[in-house]
């Protein structure tokens, strides 16, 4: 198992290198001079040239990229051009808000999605099933940012119940995470429903009934664990989606998180900040997916068996 985790971690390295290389190239090709960004519009050409020399901006592209990666390995992602604070600190200050929204959204999506999906399947074609299926369809088709705007209109502008902008209290977190959760919740509902429907038609469910197990026991003891296997994958994938979505929704609700940080760094051509935050997001997504896969092996004995050697 450890060997597997190690292998997966190693595999993340080329991915992150690739991402950083592409971003580095793009930022290098786009117009705009970092030295000017740092010194502002009123600096003289001589000052700018001096700074370029000092920052090594006149070096060959590959030399600069190599230097960047060399520093990154030691944990130094450079300083922001704009604020001149270390990029690592900037990320550390902003990431918790993003994480909070994403996790809260995850919680909503899972805690509502899975039970609703199960009820939907067990009571197939009932009113509850039909309405939840319709709702799920609706939520998958609505983009998160639009739902966010609708929520702001309703709860902030009309009812004046929740604050529209900011990230200070849990009340601020509510609308962003709900708008973010909606689409994932819909996916989880549909996934849970369909796998559950498949599972309850399996022979081993009939075997359980043939033993004299009551319907509730059949569902909770025999069906759910089997049905949740594919759902875990969906949830895992949706964590990455949620993180990505959080970056967008932050901009709708004016939350200072990783997403607003990225957007601002693009606007201001703050190369170290942009590459640093994107690489960070990529690492987080990779670790989350790895975590989900590891979890999977603990739920499914068939997969676990591939990793755990027989102890006899």
């Amino acid at each position: 198992m450890l060997k597997y985790i190690g292998k997966r971690l190693l595999l993340m390295i080329p991915v992150i290198l690739g991402i950083s290389f592409i971003l580095f190239t793009i930022m290098d090709l786009t117009p705009g001079d970092p030295a000017r960004v740092i010194l502002g519009d009123f600096a003289s050409q001589a000052e700018i040239d001096a700074l370029r020399e000092e920052m090594g901006l006149n070096d060959n592209f590959f030399v600069r990229y190599g230097r960047y990666i060399g520093n990154a390995v030691t944990g130094d992602l450079g300083n922001s051009y704009r604020s001149s604070a270390p990029v690592v600190e900037e990320i550390a200050a902003r990431f918790p808000s993003t994480l909070k929204i994403a996790l809260l959204a995850m919680l909503f999506a899972v805690l509502i999605g899975i039970p609703v999906g199960i009820i939907s399947a067990v009571k197939q074609y009932s009113i509850a099933d039909i309405s939840s299926t319709m709702l799920a369809l609706l939520f998958t088709s609505i983009p998160a940012f639009w739902l966010g705007l609708l929520l702001i209109l309703l709860f902030s502008v009309r009812l004046r119940l929740l604050p529209a902008v900011g990230s200070d209290t849990w009340k601020h977190m509510l609308m962003p995470s709900i708008s973010l959760a909606a689409a994932q919740m819909a996916t989880i509902i549909r996934m849970t429903r369909s796998t559950m429907l498949e599972v309850i038609r399996q022979d081993y469910i009939r075997t359980a009934k043939a033993k004299g197990a009551a319907p509730r026991r059949v569902i909770f003891h025999h069906a759910i664990k089997n049905a949740l296997l594919p759902v875990i994958t969906t949830v895992g994938l949706s964590i990455s989606n949620l993180l990505g979505g959080a970056l967008i929704i932050e901009n709708v609700f004016g939350i200072s998180g990783l997403g607003t940080l990225m957007v601002n760094s693009v606007k201001s051509k703050d190369t170290p900040l942009l590459i640093g935050s994107v690489m960070f997001a990529a690492v987080v997504a990779g670790l989350v997916n790895l975590g989900v896969d590891v979890l999977y092996t603990y739920v499914d004995p068939r997969i676990k068996a591939q990793f755990v050697k027989k102890k006899k």
């Binding site: 022979d203 081993y204 009939r206 043939a210 004299g212």
Partner: protein, 333 residues
Amino acid sequence: MEERLLTIKDLYVEYITDDARVFAVNGIDLAINKGETLGLVGETGAGKTTTALSIMRLLPEKVGLIKSGSIVLNGKDVTKASEADMRLLRGETVSMIFQDPMTSLNPVLTVGDQIAEVLELHKRHKNKADVEARVDEILKMVGLPPERKHDFPHQFSGGMKQRIVIAIALACEPLLLLADEPTTALDVTIQAQVLALMNELKQNLNTAMILITHDLGVVAQTCDRVAIMYAGEVIETGTVEQIFSGDEHHPYTVGLFESIPDLKKKTRRLHPIDGLMPDPTDLPTGCKFHTRCPHCMEICKTELPKPIEKDGHLIRCHLLEGGGRKAEGSETL
């Protein structure tokens, strides 16, 4: 006089789906005494599984319906029992082994847990230790080392899985075992082993069994009596001797035996019955076999033949009417 365990009278079962109404079982009568083995034989779609599921009352919900008739198991009418009563019967009084051992076990539970479950559901033992001891005992009984109870189904071969399924079915020593083609999914050498095991266990526990199979050789070896089904009806039933060597038979039985090479000396050539099973959503009138019967007469097309009995050997065919046999069961038709 042997003690009667199961009596099925005039049972009708239908499947009602969105686009069709399937007449799966059409007025069958069956009876089994304690400890007896009945072979249930017939082509695919004849209604064998449906009959077994009706006894368990495990027909697919909302789709499979018992329309009429009675199934009296150990003094209790299954068709009228409450769902709670049925749960007490299932696994305890009557157990079922399904056709495919590969899919009959829950992949995420250890086999030990799956055997223990049936014991716990029927409160067979006072504490966990006793349950575990019984699980070990049952595993040994079906020829598996008890240590393997901690393993999951995917760690066993097909034959071993079927042994586990048998262990689950027999854990509570039921009075009746319904075995739905228990060996069809296994390869030939394993088939014989599993059958021998089932036979031995049912002798030891004095369990009655309905053995559903396509294999007439298996029937000859293991069964006391045989019922032959065609299009949801039992068209011939009798002891193994009566079916295998009696001089009078239903034309379908004759065809069935002729389709097995080497079993009857007269015809060694494989001789499948011409034609197909009738469409169960649109069954023919009269004798359901008349579309394929080589002896079909005018009356066969319109009138359902009554079962004619002689020494417990029942045949449902117009050819035998007026012969040495007396008409029987006419009130149920």
